[in-house]
């Protein structure tokens, strides 16, 4: 990026630049997901058109929603614990932003290339449980309390398969840093054919499946959306929120979806790597390739979200502990053995 700009910005300039870029990606990411999938794709899957009035084909519908939420009154329930209630959305938002730090979009387009990149990302994403519990407990409402407890149980239960699914990839790439994982996938060869490198999905398809299912649960989306089960708990831990705080939760939810889709694309589909593109060009094509892969992965997530009914609480837990975790352990051992053999 420095060569590109051919100037030598001071440290604080690069950080502000990175900050601005991250902010933009989060907002546009959330925008694409919400507009593309939640509005348009869901509508066409239900044989209807979705928003058409605001802007051409409803493009400005999100601006309208944005404005609506901003001008709505930010209500605090009387018996709510004011500070915790006010802080909860920011904790969830913080955990989302921190995940973006380690996602590489190009050879040099990365905020900070930690050696323990993927470990850091998952640790940050599990922060959101705190925010949800704070929200549920502080709003002094039976429904949100139950919603928060369910969310806590579910997120913790699905943290494990999420992590175990990644261990397979890490074993194969022999590194925790996302950049090296992408490089590993770039210059591997499948039986001599080096055309498309070796995206780990080919060898780690079990890991990919478990990661997708656990991701669906982390995002509390159907079939795992017990915490926000509208038909029972009205709106789970979000019941008492309105106005700007509800908007923050809403952006956080879809920004996390974008972040997880980006991690899945990086780990399993080769990240920003496009076969036959190296050096400076990769910095330009990289983000587009990553974007396309993210769209592909999130298409899968939202497709499942619009089709399936919801698991019940105990079925959800048994599914995690009895099926996903043993499966991921088997996957890890298999990768380990194969790694040693080849």
């Amino acid at each position: 990026m420095h060569a590109l700009l051919a100037l030598n910005p001071a440290y604080w300039q690069t950080t502000t630049l990175k900050l601005v870029v991250i902010l933009l990606t989060v907002v546009t990411g959330a925008f694409i997901l919400v507009y593309g999938f939640l509005f348009k794709m869901m509508a066409h899957m239900q044989s209807r058109l979705g928003p058409m009035e605001a802007g051409p084909h409803g493009l400005l519908q999100l601006m309208a929603e944005f404005g609506k939420f901003l001008q709505k009154e930010d209500i605090f329930p009387s018996k709510a614990d004011r500070r915790v209630f006010a802080l909860a959305p920011f904790v969830v938002l913080a955990s989302t932003f921190l995940v973006y730090v380690v996602i590489p979009a190009g050879p040099r387009l990365i905020v900070e290339d930690f050696d323990t990149g993927i470990f850091f990302a998952l640790a940050m994403s599990s922060l959101s449980v705190l925010g949800v519990l704070m929200a549920g407990w502080a709003s002094a409402n039976k429904y949100s309390l139950m919603g928060a407890l369910r969310a806590a149980g579910q997120l913790i239960a699905y943290e494990l398969p999420l992590v175990l699914a990644i261990v397979g990839v890490v074993v194969q790439a022999q590194s925790l840093s996302l950049q090296t994982i992408v490089h590993q996938q770039a210059d591997g060869a499948i039986f001599g054919f080096t055309g498309i490198g070796t995206p780990f999905i080919l060898t780690q398809f079990v890991g990919f499946f478990i990661f997708l299912v656990a991701m669906q649960a982390e995002l509390t989306q159907t079939p795992f959306d017990m915490p926000l089960a509208e038909s029972e708990l009205v709106a789970g831990y979000l019941t008492e929120y309105s106005g700007i705080r509800f908007l923050l939760f809403f952006i956080a939810e879809f920004a996390t979806a974008f972040a997880f889709a980006a991690i899945a694309a990086t780990l399993f589909l080769g990240g920003w790597y496009v076969p036959g593109v190296h050096g400076a060009m990769a910095d330009v094509i990289g983000p587009l390739a990553l974007g396309a892969k993210i769209i592909g992965v999130s298409f899968l997530i939202f497709w499942i979200r619009f089709t399936y009914p919801r698991f019940r609480e105990d079925q959800l837990q048994t599914f995690a502990w009895k099926y996903l975790i043993p499966l991921s352990l088997i996957n890890i051992t298999a990768t380990g053995i194969l790694k040693v053999v080849f």
Binding site: M42, M45, Q46, S47, R48, K142, M146, T222, P223, D225, M226, A229, E230, S231, E232, V234, F306, T307, Y308, P309, R310, F311, R312, E313, D314, Q315
Partner: protein, 389 residues
């Protein structure tokens, strides 16, 4: 440093507050109010539920939010006025409410509607059943979290409603039935249009079957939930698909010789053995298919002829008492009409299906999880107008 009185009182107050919170959380169960405005209840039914953790200890439905006092109103109205009133009880299949009332009046007057009117009544009765149950089939998915089936249900139900409107004039409140026959005959081209709408209804049933019935999560959420043994169902007076799902092979259309035209076409009454929510859903799905087949057969054999029997302009029903019940989409609906020869009935007891179907809820909800409350309530499929009358 001595502890000041203020600190001591603050400390005691803090302890008391903690103690209160502990008491509130641990021992005494949480009382949850589901409704009266709640997505899972079709209308304004409130259920007071006492929970222990996530399990229900005690449940008590509170109804009456929609009570319009129909039985009192029928005492001051004439028969045509009551026909408009009566199709607002179960507003999803409104034509099906008018038929038993008119049959009761005809039985008292000793008049029989001409065959063409009886056939068209049966056709519209079955179409009302389709309009009612397709909404249930789609909406059951929504109760379990699947958003998409509701839209398919409304999309395909729209055609049935348009047909009812083109024939009777009203989508939801047809007011088409008269003592002695029907108000008007069918418009031109209605029969062919009805044929391909029935075809579309069958496609909808297959689509729902693949989308929901085949879905393992749906089966896992529905099987074994809210099991009603046949004897308990009969005790509470459950009727319709709720009792057929528990194995009771009883359908008024087949087992009683009603003047309508069910006996002219062959169709099957579906029962299921389990008696759980899945069975109720399955039985209703098959019933919709059977209803579309019945309509097809009736359309083929529709006899020509007048639509209205010879009836005096001002109708005075002779004194007497009549009980007529038919197999409404929600269950058995009957009218006990007491007439004393006036323009309007002297007393009209309206026996609606959902009233009995919901009276089993306190028995059924004991020891059930919170999410299952919603599944069981929706699988019983009641309409609030039917309960509160």
């Amino acid at each position: 440093m001595t502890v000041t009185d203020h600190q001591k009182s603050m400390y005691i107050a803090g302890q008391a507050a903690d103690a209160r919170i502990n008491i509130e959380l641990e021992t005494e169960g949480m009382t949850l109010n589901i409704g009266p405005q709640h997505p899972a209840t079709h209308g304004t039914l409130r259920i007071v539920v006492r929970l222990d953790g996530e399990q229900v200890v005690w449940a008590d439905p509170v109804c009456g939010y929609m009570h319009r006092g129909y039985e009192k109103l029928t005492e001051v109205r004439t028969y045509p006025q009551i026909t408009t009133l009566v199709n607002r009880i179960d507003w999803l299949s409104s034509f099906a409410n008018e038929v038993p009332f008119i049959l009761a009046a005809e039985q008292l007057m000793g008049i029989d509607a001409p065959p063409r009117a009886q056939w068209i009544r049966t056709i519209l009765f079955e179409m009302a059943r389709i309009a009612n149950i397709t909404l249930f089939l789609g909406e059951m998915g929504a109760q379990l979290g699947a958003i998409t089936p509701v839209f398919y249900a409304f999309r395909d139900r729209e055609h049935v409603l348009n047909l009812i409107e083109s024939a009777t004039g009203g989508r939801f409140h047809p007011n088409y039935d008269r003592i002695g026959g029907l108000k008007d005959d069918l418009p031109k081209g209605w029969v062919d249009e009805c044929k391909d709408v029935m075809h579309r209804v069958r496609d909808f049933c297959d689509e729902l079957e693949t989308l929901l019935m085949g879905n393992e999560i749906f089966a896992q959420r529905m099987r074994g939930i809210g099991v009603i043994p046949a004897q308990v169902g009969l005790d509470y007076g459950l009727s319709g698909a709720n009792i057929r799902a528990s194995g009771v092979d009883w359908d008024i259309r087949r087992d009683e010789d009603s003047p309508l035209a069910w006996k002219h076409c062959d169709w099957k009454v579906w029962t299921h053995v389990d008696g759980d929510s899945y069975a109720r859903y399955w039985v209703r799905l098959q019933e919709t298919r059977e209803a579309s087949k019945i309509v097809d057969q009736l359309l083929d054999g529709l006899p020509a002829g007048p639509i209205m029997a010879k009836v005096p302009r001002i109708i005075k029903v002779p004194a007497g008492e009549a009980w007529v019940h038919t197999e409404n989409p929600l269950g058995e609906m009957g009218y006990y009409v007491v007439s004393q020869g006036g323009l309007g009935p002297f007393r009209c007891k309206i026996r609606s299906a959902s009233f009995n179907n919901v009276s089993i809820v306190p028995w059924l909800l004991q020891g059930v999880y919170v999410p299952d409350i919603i599944t069981i309530l929706s699988s019983l499929y009641f309409i609030l107008g039917d309960i509160d009358r």
